[in-house]
């Protein structure tokens, strides 16, 4: 099945696993730490060892995008981040014109660093606003308030960032559709070029999961969604993914690479990666040690990777679809073949079932979820899960 695989573009994800305080809805690998206590030097040493060990696996491909995620990457001073970028430059590992994003908390302390980040060549900033309503921010356990957030946005623009994402949630505890629209209106006024507008979801292993807040009911959230979509469209944004909205040309290339089933190297504690080896015909996922201390100890040795999974044909089908169907435009069948090494036939039975239910449309070598399918993406994807998961479930029981 290997022959049709083509080497996909490759991205770099850098995980910086600390936050001043863990938010009650967050299920990412993040660890609370006092400001100023982040062991930035040791951690960067580890990241550098880690990436230098991995670069040969890329077979000469250069990173098209880099994303510093967390955690709160903006807890790291620009100088620290700069060390990693220098190493990458020395190895000529970054493609010209690469998109380099850093996630930042819109607090006063962090905003002071924005100019420094921009000076390093970081050309995209992602601000975790989440809400611009102080009561909502408190209910989400955020450490910043709306005034700080507004200031942070202004500082980001002033620092020279022309590509700015802002994360905003809706469906917050006790939120009304009117309040959600106010939030969105205030956010748009801060002139983001990209908006990640997503519904608050209660994930397992979070504080909200063990003590769930009262969330608006399904129909109320639906109303927010309809109103919000209109508002974002009116403000000139285009929805190109389930929760991602961009001004023309400002789509996040890094995330699009995930959704198009591209390759990525993930370094840092708990980071995940996916790499294609065209010669061996394999696609492999790997995950690194989650605990920062262990990660720093093991980085640069093969033992830093705690899980490695080679994707079988059936895995490739569902995992490709899980990503690609999130895109409003869908995908070309040719992309499926190039990224999975599988013939388009492998999708045919599922496509037929999903199309029969009005979940997706096909034509001119492309597959695109319908509006209905985008609302019921989980139902659409059911048709691409391998059969007989039950066998596995039984064994586990």
């Amino acid at each position: 099945m290997s022959t049709r695989l083509q080497p996909p573009p490759v991205s770099l994800y850098v995980h910086l696993p600390w936050c001043v305080r863990k938010c009650p809805y967050c299920d990412f690998n993040s660890h609370g730490i006092g400001p100023g206590a982040v062991p930035d030097r040791a951690y960067l040493d580890a990241l550098i060892r880690d990436v230098e060990q991995e670069l040969p696996q890329l077979h000469g491909r250069r990173f098209q995008t880099i994303f510093f995620g967390g955690g709160t990457p903006s807890l790291f001073p620009a100088g620290a981040i700069g060390r990693l970028l220098e190493v990458l430059a020395r190895h000529d590992a970054v493609a010209p014109g690469a998109e380099i994003t850093l996630e930042a908390n819109p607090g006063t302390a962090e905003a002071r660093r924005f100019a420094g980040y921009h000076g390093l060549g970081i050309n995209r900033l992602s601000l975790g606003m989440q809400s611009l309503d102080d009561a909502s921010l408190r209910s989400l356990g955020r450490i910043h308030d709306s005034a700080e957030a507004i200031r942070a946005a202004a500082i980001a623009h002033a620092a020279g960032f022309t590509r700015i994402n802002m994360d905003l949630m809706h469906g917050l505890p006790a939120q009304t559709p009117a309040a959600a629209m106010d939030d969105l209106r205030r956010l748009v006024a801060l002139r983001p070029t990209h908006v990640s507008w997503y519904e608050l979801t209660i994930e397992p292993n979070t504080a909200f999961y063990s003590a769930p807040p009262r969330l608006p009911d399904e129909d109320t959230i639906w109303d927010m969604r309809v109103l919000g979509q209109q508002q974002l469209r009116d403000a000139g944004f285009r929805q190109y993914e389930v929760s991602a909205w961009a001004a023309p040309g400002h789509e996040c290339r890094h995330n699009i690479n995930y959704w198009e089933f591209g390759d990525y190297l993930g370094i840092g504690a708990g980071a995940h990666g996916k790499l294609t080896d065209v010669e061996r015909g394999t696609i492999t996922r790997h995950a690194r040690h989650r605990l920062p201390e262990r990660y720093m100890k093991l980085a640069g040795t093969p033992a830093v990777v705690v899980r490695r999974q080679e994707l079988a044909a059936s895995d490739r089908v569902i995992e490709f679809m899980l990503n690609a169907c999130r895109l409003t435009e869908g995908f070309a069948l040719a992309l499926f073949t190039a990224r999975t090494g599988l013939d388009a036939e492998a999708l045919a039975p599922g496509l037929r079932q999903a199309a029969d239910r009005g979940l997706l449309a096909q034509g001119a070598g492309r597959v695109q979820p319908t509006e209905f399918g985008r609302c019921h993406l989980n139902d659409l994807l059911q048709w691409f899960l391998p059969e007989d998961r039950r066998v596995r479930a039984t064994v586990q029981r």
Partner: protein, 598 residues
Amino acid sequence: MQHIRNFSIIAHINHGKSTLADRFIQICGGLAEREMVEQVLDSMDLERERGITIKSQSVSLTHTAGDGKQYTLNLIDTPGHVDFSYEVSRSLAACEGALLVVDAAQGVQAQTVANCFAATENNLEIVPVLNKIDLPAADPERVIREIEDIIGLDASHAVSVSAKSGLGVAELLEQIVARIPAPRGNPDAPLAALIIDSWFDNYLGVVSLVRVVDGALHVGGRIRVMSTGHDYDVDAVGIYTPKRTPKETLGAGEVGYVAAGIKDIHGAPVGDTFTSSRRPAERPLPGFQAIKPRVFAGLFPVDSREYEGLREALAKLRLNDAALQYEPETSQALGFGFRCGFLGMLHMEIIQERLEREYDLDLLTTAPTVIYEVESASGEVGYVDNPAKLPPPDKIREVREPIIRADILVPQEYLGNVINLCVEKRGVQKKMIFAGRQVSLAFELPLSEVVLDFFDRLKSASRGYASFDYQFVCYQPAPVVKLDILINGERVDALSCIVHQDIAQRRGRELAEKMKELIPRQMFEVAIQAAIGSKILARETVKALRKNVTAKCYGGDVTRKRKLLEKQKEGKRRMKQFGSVEIPQSAFMAILHVGKQN
């Protein structure tokens, strides 16, 4: 024969039957200390968990009595639930006496009464035993009065014991020897052995527990099953001590097992008689009955690929359960499955649980129903065990439903509640006797009302204090109608039920409401209707789910998001696909959960 005593223990659940049996075994040395498992006789996990006995068993104990002589005491354990009353009656028929064990704190319970009457009918000598005498709440005098008033038995010589501590158990063994008569039988007459129970053993084939009444059973002898006329060679006989102990012969008066290469338990039915092929007895022992299931339900595999597995599992269970009946059933909604007949609700639950646990099957069970006698317009009489198969009204002259007699014992303070419940369930009062703190009630009730939720309702109406037993009485004409449920305009056969016409309207409304609660919102709107024939009684709508999509998914999330999808799919797999609608298993039982509040 003078040194044999055959007896059973009659007791309500948790009144201490199994503990007492354990104590006997311990005292009489049937097992080494390390072999004593709690409640030796209840060998199925399920039996031990539920504290009930499903299969009959026996144990032969050796006891040296106060007179210095050695006695063989055969304890024949009886099933402990109303569903198995026929098996109980056969166990009792094999004995000369019975211990009536009553919890000295709780007093007499309905089940004890019913079994006690069965014992008296078999002319058994009954030895009343007050158990748990060491409990602070024990009130022996009240309980003695209850035994005398409710059962009509002289209890002045009741033996007081604590099976748990062993207190009084030695004295009880003496009383068994002294008060229960030795078996009477003719060792020289042709063989007549009563089959108390039969089960399938992988090595021996069918093994039967028997009581030899006349004659003797020898290894190598040729025996005949009197109801079928089939002959077999005896491979093995023996007793349980409780370990299986082979012998050459079982003589008149003895209780033990026999294996004769019988392939199928239906070849050795409970209550039947083994006789000698060479010199057959003139007539079988009295009381043999063919077993008739009273409660029916459809069992369907959730995954249609498990149909064969279900068939095999049912066949295996039937090897050891003559009362279980099944035949293939095809439902438009549920696909291929089996319509199964059970003795009662507990029997049904046990079978369901064993299929799921021991055979790892995912099953979908339709609501239980009774068997109706239907006289067609042309005068033919047939039986309908599946509501979907009830002919249209114009093809029916009369439908008759099974009526049972319910014996209920309830403390006075709950009498009003219980009577209200019975009346609501279309009951007709037959008897009411006040006995001490308790009232003994008899009602005639339609079995169809009992299989729904009577047990649960009785429990809550009496805070768990009422006890209940029933027996089939007759078929009685009943104005019943078939209530259908339509999903998106299509009748779902597995959801049809037969209800009394007076409450049909209300039931239909309640059922539609309940279905609305049970069917989750899904991609499309779901319309639920309740109807009799073409007349729509009620209509409910399950609104469409607006969306089902994961808000976020980035590089690190793929594995987790995929697990989420797999979990959703597993959830769906446990539902039944009906057109574009997914119906959860619980919806097929909805009828059991309606009509609770008036």
